[in-house]
């Protein structure tokens, strides 16, 4: 039964337009790597789903142009990254989305990310949240969700 249930989860969703196909994987909000915040306070602090989308766009654009970590994104499917990152942030901030991306370990496998790369991304995220007007305590609370993912992201 369990095996059948797992197989059912292993969806081969159609590749969204503009994205490259990826190997099949089990879709689950659990892949987002953390439990969502309760209530709407955090979502409001991020100015709702629209605010999250602006922050993700800012983060991705800034990071691609960042001399410290820009090379990591070269050759990656940036359309898919923007979409799944928006979904992930939205799920964690209890914005009523579904996360359709892979889990953090699979998504970052073989990228060779170092601790300072993750810190650089965190700095870019802090700047994006600041520009969106997210309060500092809310910024830190959200970073706390991402902080536990470091062992899956930093592999080198």
């Amino acid at each position: 039964m369990l095996v059948l249930a797992l197989l059912a989860l292993l969806q081969t969703a159609p590749t969204p337009p503009g994205e490259d196909p990826v190997a099949p994987y089990a879709m689950s909000d659990a892949n987002a790597g953390g439990r969502p915040f309760k209530g709407v306070a955090m979502l409001e602090a991020f100015n709702g789903v629209a605010g999250i989308d602006r922050i993700v766009d800012d983060l991705v654009t800034t990071s691609q142009a960042d001399a410290r970590i820009g090379d990591i994104f070269k050759g990656q499917d940036m359309i898919r990254l923007r979409r799944t990152l928006r979904e992930q942030f939205c799920v964690l901030l209890n914005g009523g989305c579904r996360y359709t991306g892979r889990d953090m370990a699979t998504a970052h496998k073989n990228l060779g990310i170092q601790a300072k790369d993750m810190n650089a991304l965190v700095e870019n995220l802090q700047a994006a949240m600041r520009r969106e007007g997210v309060s500092f305590p809310a910024q830190n609370a959200f970073l706390g969700k991402l902080a536990v993912m470091k062992p899956d992201v930093v592999t080198r």
Partner: protein, 295 residues
């Protein structure tokens, strides 16, 4: 402290900053540093990274596991009856091992005359420290696993005749400690504690142990901070102390501090300190100011 000493300190800091900003950029091609702001802590009066008076589990410098960083600092404490100045440097190797040195100078001013060592006599001490991060990450990973480090500080008092005169048993000694530090991002709260095994009298400036024995005792340090902004942490620290000497009481230390990262390479710390009774001079409360540069 005389104006010339202050000028000397500033000159040292300027040299340190110049050295710091000149070299790593070329060596790492723009990938120098890497720690998030303030997550290297500031420098304690004993030269290891921490708060102002409490040693934390953090490793000095801005480098991560992938590099070798370092820091240099100057600290001044103005008290009713004393003036304190300390300076030093530390290196942080792969965010794992910290090696530090600090020179402590305590100007006894009028108390010196009272104690018979001469007005303005300055007590001096060298502190050599080593700290090893054993497990955990102060910022990342599980919020329930703090960064834990073990360390030792070898303190060498340069005024053995004063140590003997006040009843100190030894002019040098070694503190050993274990420290745990965690930034709770969910709450923006910084928590830390250090258990120290020491026989140092007033940090070692009055020697180690007394004429009845030289045994170490267990002392506790605690720190509680709140991160207001990316560049600003405010908090308080507490440090219990031994009370070995017969000629004078020794009290626990308390501080309330604000640490501000002017840039990734420069942090200023200001604090109100209550150091209690020091060598018969009561109620030593005053101001602490420290500048640290890190790379």
């Amino acid at each position: 402290m005389s104006p010339s000493t202050v000028a000397g300190c500033i000159a040292k800091l300027v040299v340190a900053i110049t050295v710091v900003t000149a070299s790593p950029a070329a060596a790492h091609e723009g990938r120098a540093g890497g720690k998030l702001m303030l997550t290297n802590g500031v420098t304690t009066i004993e030269g290891s990274s921490g708060g102002g008076i409490s040693t934390w589990a953090l490793i000095a410098g801005n480098e991560t596991v992938d590099g070798i960083g370092g820091s240099a600092h100057v600290s001044v404490i103005l008290l009713p009856d004393y003036r304190w100045e300390s300076h030093g440097a530390a290196i942080g190797i792969h965010d794992r091992l910290e090696l530090s040195y600090a020179r402590q100078n305590l100007d006894t001013r009028d108390v010196g005359a009272k104690l018979g060592i001469g007005r303005g006599y300055t007590l001096n001490q060298d502190v050599f420290g080593a700290k090893l991060r054993v497990v955990g990450d102060a910022v990342y990973g599980s919020p329930y696993l703090p960064q834990i480090a073990i360390g030792a500080q070898y303190k060498h008092n340069l005024d053995p005749q004063v140590v003997a005169a006040v009843g100190g048993r030894n002019a040098s000694g070694t503190d050993i400690y274990v420290a745990a530090t965690k930034l709770l991002l969910r709450q923006s709260i910084l928590l830390g504690t250090t258990i120290r095994y020491t026989k140092a009298n007033q940090n070692g400036l009055l020697g180690f142990g007394d004429d009845r024995g030289g045994n170490r005792t267990v002392q506790v340090e605690g720190t509680l901070g709140y991160q207001i902004a990316r560049q600003l942490v405010v908090g308080a620290e507490y440090r219990s102390k031994p009370d070995n000497l017969r000629f004078a009481r020794e009290n626990d230390w308390k501080t309330a501090y604000a640490a501000y990262a002017i840039s990734k390479n420069l942090t200023a710390t200001a604090a109100y300190v209550d150091l209690g009774s020091i060598a018969t001079a009561e109620r030593q409360r005053g101001g602490f100011l420290s500048l640290q540069t890190a790379f």
